[in-house]
């Protein structure tokens, strides 16, 4: 398998990372060598093997439906790039 620069640009678009044509070309070579390494696992016969998502077979715990946190809005907004009147500011999305 081999990725084209268009593939790289498409994935970068999915990942919301701006990528120039020159960057996509450089990245393409490196990603292809990594996918060559990954391809070695394709030959393994895994029929009947259950996928392992996690090291421990644990189930999500449920807790009582009570408030456990106090109000941290001021502390959290103090480190944001742009806030106003308790709101996070981003470019306008609805005209």
């Amino acid at each position: 398998m081999s990725l084209s620069t268009d593939d790289v640009k498409r994935i970068a678009r999915l990942a919301r990372i701006e990528t120039s044509d020159a960057e996509a070309q450089a990245t393409q070579t490196q990603l292809n060598s990594i996918f060559d390494l990954i391809a070695t696992m394709q030959a393994v016969d895994t029929r009947g093997v259950a996928p392992m998502a996690h090291a421990q077979e644990v189930y999500q715990r449920l807790r009582d439906d009570v408030a456990t946190e106090s109000d941290h809005r001021a502390a959290f907004q103090a480190i944001a790039p742009a806030v106003d009147n308790g709101l996070y500011l981003v470019p306008k999305v609805i005209d």
Partner: protein, 485 residues
């Protein structure tokens, strides 16, 4: 620095031979002298450290000291630390002052251990050489032309250079064990789920685990007693009784069955590393251990499996960095989408972007079964190999890394070559097993060699016992780099 073991430092504090403030100041002085050359710390804040040390002195004076109260420690810059810059080695978080403490930080604060600062690391813990840090590479204290390993490279270097008596690290594919090996210290990655991941900036959540890094196994046992414990804020943290990891340190090794995986002593292993590891096996036999050959037949697939699963999880975890709520935002942008794309293009380094792209690709429509699902199935085969092996042995032994430290820049242009460094460490992460690295010699260039132990689930006390008994009859772990100060 005369005494450097944690138990010796704690004894001096209890006997009032030294105060926590004096001790912290000694280490701060050493950091100030050595950090310009080694770059092991990203953030040092003497006034915060000394205030924490004064609080520890008050606890000692009031007779309320715990086993390590007053002993300072350095924290990897992946742990959110209230009021401290917490960068994760990235431009994306170069201005992020954490508004809360990670559970690991809470545990060390509760134990009365002052923080000496935040240590340098590969960006978002993605790297094996510490060269991907936005804040520049860390230098290996044994030879500053060489890498310290990664991603906990600052932690390993600061302990090796005795800029801190101990440090915290995290290990997703070897990030505690490989730098411990390359810097000649002891480091342990616990069983997955023993240490809370709350407030530990996520890379690959099903693999990430925090652990201790220090000169000796005894030190690591004392630190593990502090770090472990149930935390409801991490849904994968295990509800278990607290253990005393020092309890078996002094047990004899008579009858210990050491499993030697033939795949870990095959092609690709440096001769000097192989000889040092084999010499360590001979020492363990003198202490009463026996050896048994085992096979981890699927371990050769660990790297391809890891480079599907870890990037897949990373691409999801790192989607939170969007320039809205914290961290870096691009100075110029058009619409909201453009703001995301420019912020992420400028805020992430090359290796982090590569892994996000791999992850986005393997999870994308049409490729999920061939990559992600296939990798998860082989992950089970790798874990089952270990389960079978532990029917015939008590602990698995091999090299930590295929070679010793390499030169700065030597592998930084070739991602695949860099990834091969974690050949022997990744299998334990995939299975969720505990693993540790301890020093077992030096190569002809004077660079440290690391020995790896992998244990069955929850067998940390046994592994620490083996390592401690080995360290009683050898002195590799107490050697220090010359010519630093």
């Amino acid at each position: 620095m005369s005494a450097t073991t944690l138990s010796a430092l704690a004894a001096q504090l209890k006997a009032k031979q030294v105060s926590s403030r004096e001790l912290a100041q000694q280490y701060l002085d050493r950091i100030a002298a050595l950090n310009p050359a080694l770059n092991a710390f990203i953030t040092v804040d003497a006034s915060k450290t000394l205030a924490e040390a004064a609080a520890a002195d008050a606890l000692i004076a009031a007779g309320q000291a715990g086993p390590l109260t007053g002993v300072p420690i350095a924290h990897k810059d992946i742990f959110c630390t209230d009021g401290w810059l917490t960068t994760c080695g990235s431009k994306m978080l170069h201005n992020f002052i954490a508004p809360y403490d990670a559970h690991v930080i809470q545990q060390f604060k509760a134990a009365g251990m002052p923080s000496l600062g935040k240590t340098n690391m590969d960006e978002f813990a993605m790297g094996s050489s510490n060269e991907t840090s936005y804040f520049g590479a860390v230098k290996n204290p044994w030879n500053p032309a060489y890498v310290p390993g990664g991603s906990s490279g600052g932690a390993a270097a600061c302990v090796a250079a005795r800029m801190a008596p101990a440090a915290t690290g995290t290990d997703t594919g070897g990030s505690i064990r490989q730098p411990a090996a390359l810097c000649g210290i002891t480091g342990l990655k616990p069983t997955y789920g023993l240490v809370s991941r709350y407030g530990m900036i996520a890379f690959a959540s099903s693999l990430d685990q925090a652990g201790p890094m220090a000169p000796s196994a005894e030190d690591c046992a004392l630190l593990l007693n502090v770090m472990t414990g149930f935390d409801p804020n991490d849904s994968t943290c295990l509800e278990r009784e607290k253990e005393d990891y020092t309890r078996d340190l002094n047990q004899p090794l008579t009858g210990l069955r050491v499993g030697l995986p033939k795949e870990f002593f095959a092609e690709g292993l440096n001769n000097e590393v192989a000889a040092a590891v084999e010499a360590a096996v001979t020492e363990l036999k003198k202490l009463g251990a026996t050896t048994v050959e085992i096979s981890l037949a699927n371990s050769k697939l660990a790297i391809p499996v890891y480079y599907v699963l870890a990037p897949a999880e990373a691409s999801s975890n790192l989607s939170r960095f969007d320039g809205v709520r914290y961290g870096y935002r691009a100075p110029e942008y058009g619409n909201l989408d453009d703001m995301y794309c420019k912020t992420r293009a400028q805020g992430f380094g090359a290796e982090v972007k590569r892994r996000i792209l791999i992850g986005a690709y393997v999870l994308s429509h049409g490729y999920y079964d061939a990559y992600y699902l296939q990798a998860q199935k082989i992950r089970r085969l790798i874990a089952e190999d270990f389960n079978a092996a532990f029917k015939t042995c008590d602990v698995i032994l091999g090299p930590t890394a295929p070679g010793t430290a390499f030169k700065l820049g030597e592998k930084s242009d070739d991602p695949v070559e860099m990834y091969l460094n974690d050949l022997y460490t990744i299998p334990a992460n995939l299975a969720g097993l505990p693993g540790m690295s301890l020093p077992c010699g030096f190569d002809g260039k004077g660079l440290p060699i690391g020995l790896q132990l992998v244990g069955d689930y929850f067998s940390e006390a046994k592994m620490l016992n083996v390592a401690h008994q080995y360290q009683r009859v050898t002195d590799w772990h107490s050697r220090q780099p010359e010519g630093l100060l």
